[in-house]
């Protein structure tokens, strides 16, 4: 039994309720953050958090603590009990997840788990040393363990590793970015990421402005992934569907996107950052969200499945307690690759348009219509005659995702794992498997600053 599961079992033993569930999340991580080619904010974190959910007479309460000795757990149980006793009975509570076996998944690598702070610093240095320009970013790796034990007999745990190098090569008037993410540190090459960032940055010097308007565009995986994630918060979750506030409302079963687009959420995929179970303890399932342009389904947890009725069951997508207001969330989006060999080939398909490397500060303008705004950064280019041409200043875009996804002239063959964790709160590695994409419509609504710092 893992230490995390053992702690969950200990917490469960002191719980006083009709039902109880203990969730444990432990983290041992290091993040060597650098700016101007110098590590300036290196952070080592060790933490272990226990969440105890107690059900008493149909009332549900939750308490969380990181003090895990016996006194700490007893205090936790008392607070969870008080919380439960303070709530009105909830007739819609779906009950705790039943005893099930978690699927076997990959996602743990001993070499990554054992990385020392000195090795983490050395990998940051490998990126810095390979850059001819000032380098900004980080190297991070972690061992995260999740465990759930409940009064229903559920006892699941997973140890997962993750590593990421993020490289932004930047000087006044030029910047380029590259990153690599994997659960195996051996697949990360910090020097290669740095060199790719430098190569991109060198092409951004002398950026020119662009008239706002609607353009065909090539989106690198980093840009495409971020747009999809922001769209997915509402559009691919069951709560937005049930509450009729998302783009999915009234559209399941309809062909609303380009037939080249197929999107799933697949926490079991070893190419991503695999997960065995969700925050309720339900096994992760692959969900086909979009198949050849047809909007097939959204992701579900136990609450939304009960609310939907009709035999609907959880797909293993319950969010962490702090994100419950979003409902079930797709943390492992995966977009099927297309036929193009490279982003340059996509530029040939586009002919005349723009090339977008990376985005900044997205915001959902209209969730029902899937309208998202944000800025491009660190490598925006004009595409002329099918070739990536003049560098452009950073552009403001405001796009309706259904329009952007309605006509996709092409996608690259090989999806790339794009890190989507910003390491707020407790660590939960997650990313999107996504190819580069060409779209017939990307709406530019303003211009911003030049690339660079």
């Amino acid at each position: 039994m893992s230490e995390a599961l053992e702690l969950a079992e200990r917490a469960l033993r002191v719980a006083e309720g009709d039902e109880a569930l203990a969730f444990v999340s432990s983290e041992r991580s290091g993040l060597a953050r650098f700016a101007r080619s110098e590590v300036h904010q290196p952070t080592l974190i060790e933490n272990e958090v226990v969440e105890l959910q107690i059900v008493r007479d149909g009332r549900v309460g939750l308490a969380v603590a990181n003090r895990t000795d016996e006194d700490g757990l007893r205090a936790l149980a008392a607070r969870a009990r008080e919380a439960a006793d303070s709530a009105p009975a909830d007739p819609d509570f779906p009950g705790l997840a039943p005893k099930t076996e978690a699927p076997a998944v990959e996602g743990y690598d001993e070499a990554t788990a054992q990385l020392s702070p000195e090795e983490q610093a050395r990998l940051a240095a490998a990126a810095i040393d390979a850059s001819d320009l000032d380098l900004y970013g980080f190297f991070t790796s972690a061992l995260t363990e999740l465990a759930i034990a409940s009064s229903t007999g559920l006892a699941v745990s997973q140890a997962m590793t993750d590593a990421c190098v993020f490289a932004l090569a930047a000087v006044d008037g030029a910047s380029g970015h590259s990153e690599q993410t994997s659960w195996r540190v051996g697949e990360i090459d910090p020097a290669e990421a740095a060199r790719a960032a430098v190569a991109k940055a060198e092409r951004t010097r002398g950026a020119i402005e662009l008239e706002p308007g609607s353009y065909a565009a090539v989106l690198e995986p980093y840009a495409f992934a971020e747009l999809l994630m922001y769209f997915a918060y509402d559009a691919f979750g069951a709560l937005g569907l049930l509450e009729e506030r998302s783009y999915a409302a009234g559209r399941l079963g309809e062909k609303v996107f380009d037939e080249r687009l197929s999107v799933s959420d697949d926490g079991l995929d070893p190419r991503g950052l695999p997960k065995a179970f969700d925050f309720e303890g339900s096994p992760k399932q692959r969900v086909d969200l979009v198949e050849n342009g047809v909007f097939r389904d959204v992701v579900w947890d136990r609450s939304t499945a009960k609310r939907a009725g009709g035999g609907r069951e959880t797909t293993g997508h319950a969010p962490p307690s702090s994100l419950r207001r979003w409902g079930p969330l797709p943390f492992s989006l995966s977009v099927a690759g297309g036929e193009a060999g490279s982003a340059e080939e996509l530029a040939q398909l586009v002919g005349d348009g723009i090339y977008v490397s990376r985005l900044h500060y997205l915001s959902i303008v209209n969730p029902r219509e899937g309208v998202i705004t944000g800025m491009t950064r660190d490598g925006t280019f004009r595409i002329r005659g099918g070739r990536i041409a003049d560098p452009l200043v950073n552009l403001r875009f405001t796009v309706a995702m259904p329009e952007l996804l309605a006509e996709l002239p092409g996608l690259t063959r090989e999806p790339v794992l794009v890190n989507e964790a910003s390491y707020y709160d407790e660590r939960y590695p997650n990313g999107v498997l996504v190819p580069a994409a060409a779209t017939a419509r990307f709406d530019v609504t303003g211009t911003g600053s030049t690339p660079g710092v």
């Binding site: 101007r36 904010q41 303070s86 702070p117 610093a121 970013g137 509450e243 709160d425």
Partner: protein
């Protein structure tokens, strides 16, 4: 607490640090949220631990440990020093001198929020939700929160302080849907209501139940409102949206760590340069912005920041001219001015960063009605809905939940889906009036993100409604 901090600092010095500080933080947060008359969230969260920052041969290291024991304190110190020693780069870091702080501070509280029962908090939310009943409103939600953070700080220079900060907050939302259109109204703010450093009296003052019918009626009315037309026009922005305008286009650009590039990879940099201090025209003569960590009720209020620098009110923009930056001891030493005072960390497991404290747009004169009366043709914008700004904090776009046409000095028809956009100094240059002290409100937000690993800061802004000329509303056609 301070004894354990001493233990950590001593261990760091013994491991080779030339400077070290330690913070112990114990934080309790209660959150009650209801949605469609059901309890959606009833959490009571405790977190405690020690964070140690060490400067070794000019390089920083930070490590933390959840164990509040001598062993945990020493382990964190040793790991911080080891990480600092391993850090690549030619480090030369200095800290602006500051007298070692000694003292204690406690948020003044009338009603201890943890003496209010969770059951009463649930009831408060359900009552507010009940008052939002409307046939077009499909989703109602209400939430209240309480936080107590007890923290101790000790540095190797002799600083030793202890502070207890108490926060409370709440908010309500109504989402109306009909014929494929969805609209939301919130009170007192969107995206998590509003919070203050205060007791439960602050939540009571939000009058969630009293405001609920208006929120629901406006959400429903927006379903039938016309979309806001695109145009270049005069806008009057309400105090709540001005909070975010100040936050994004003045607060973040004036953070000196961003100006020096240390946030370049994530949050971004700034269009400002160190040499702009004292000379750059940021906006019109009506623009006066002040950083004030002494503001009663502010979420950024303290006696000492997380480097032990005493709180002090300072101008950032005066009559439109850039007069100050938000700084740490390190960035203050680098620019050769001041002693910092804006370093804050999110709990015990994160390294302090330059953060906003309380950043205010100082009031002008007159009422909101007088601002509107001075507009022949324009738009009045209220309550943030969406927000985005570029990595240098120049190009921004904000959306608001609701807007009204202004014609000949009076509010006209309601408008939905309004957005406005601009370039920071151009926009602030078009400021031609800020309403007076009677319209000035303090708003507190709890979702300001920055840093890697990510950190949330709790920040307040005092603002009054303001008027701007020649602003792009909607999108350029």
């Amino acid at each position: 607490m301070r004894e354990l901090c001493d233990e950590a600092v001593s261990a760091a010095l013994a491991a080779g640090a030339s400077y070290a500080d330690a913070r112990i933080v114990s934080r309790r947060v209660q959150t009650v949220a209801t949605r469609n008359r059901r309890v959606d969230r009833l959490d009571d969260v405790d977190s405690e631990g020690v964070g140690v920052r060490a400067l070794v041969d000019g390089a920083w290291g930070f490590a933390c440990d959840r164990r509040l024991s001598a062993e945990g304190a020493r382990a964190a110190a040793a790991r911080a020093c080891a990480f600092a020693k391993a850090a690549p780069g030619g480090h030369r870091r200095a800290l602006a001198p500051v007298a070692p702080a000694q003292g204690e501070y406690r948020t003044p509280v009338e009603k201890d929020p943890f003496e209010i029962s969770l059951a009463d908090k649930v009831e408060q939310c359900l009552r507010a939700e009940g008052a939002m009943e409307h046939e077009d409103v499909k989703v109602t939600s209400a939430f209240v929160r309480a936080q107590r953070e007890h923290k101790a700080f000790v540095s190797s220079e002799g600083a030793s302080v202890e502070q207890e900060l108490v926060e409370c907050g709440g908010g309500i939302d109504a989402m109306a849907t009909r014929d494929g259109i969805t609209q939301v109204r919130s009170h007192p703010s969107a995206h998590g209501g509003s919070s203050a450093q205060a007791g439960w009296e602050y939540v009571d003052s939000l009058a969630l139940e009293r405001e609920a019918p208006r929120v629901a009626e406006q959400a429903a009315a927006l379903l039938r409102a016309d979309a806001c037309p695109s145009q270049i026009t005069t806008i009057v922005v309400d105090a709540e949206q001005m909070e975010l305008q100040v936050h994004e286009s003045v607060g973040h650009p004036t953070e000196l760590d961003r100006i020096y590039g240390t946030e370049a990879a994530y949050a971004g940099t700034s269009f400002l340069k160190p040499d702009d201090l004292g000379s750059l025209r940021y906006g019109s003569e009506h623009m006066n912005v002040t950083a004030d960590p002494t503001t009663p009720g502010g979420l950024g209020t303290f006696a000492f920041d997380d480097e032990g620098v005493p709180a002090r009110r300072e101008p950032v923009v005066a009559e439109g001219i850039l007069r100050g930056f938000l700084a740490s001891r390190e960035t203050a030493a680098r620019i050769g001015s001041g002693s910092g005072g804006s370093m804050r960390a999110d709990g015990w497991s994160r390294m302090p960063l330059v953060r906003m404290t309380n950043l205010h747009l100082e009031p002008g004169e007159g009422t909101l009605e007088e601002l509107i009366a001075g507009v022949d043709d324009g738009v009045f914008l209220q309550t943030n809905k969406s927000w985005s700004i570029d990595d240098k904090r120049l190009n921004f776009q904000f959306g608001t939940q609701i807007a009204w046409e202004i014609k000949l000095g009076e509010l006209g028809r309601m408008l939905r889906d309004a957005t406005y956009t601009g370039q920071t100094p151009v926009f602030w240059g078009s400021l031609d009036a800020v309403a007076g002290p009677e319209e000035w409100r303090l708003h507190g937000l709890t979702n300001c993100g920055k840093g890697q690993p990510g950190q949330h800061a709790h920040v307040s802004h005092g603002t009054a409604p303001a008027r701007f000329r020649n602003v792009q509303v909607g999108f350029r056609s």
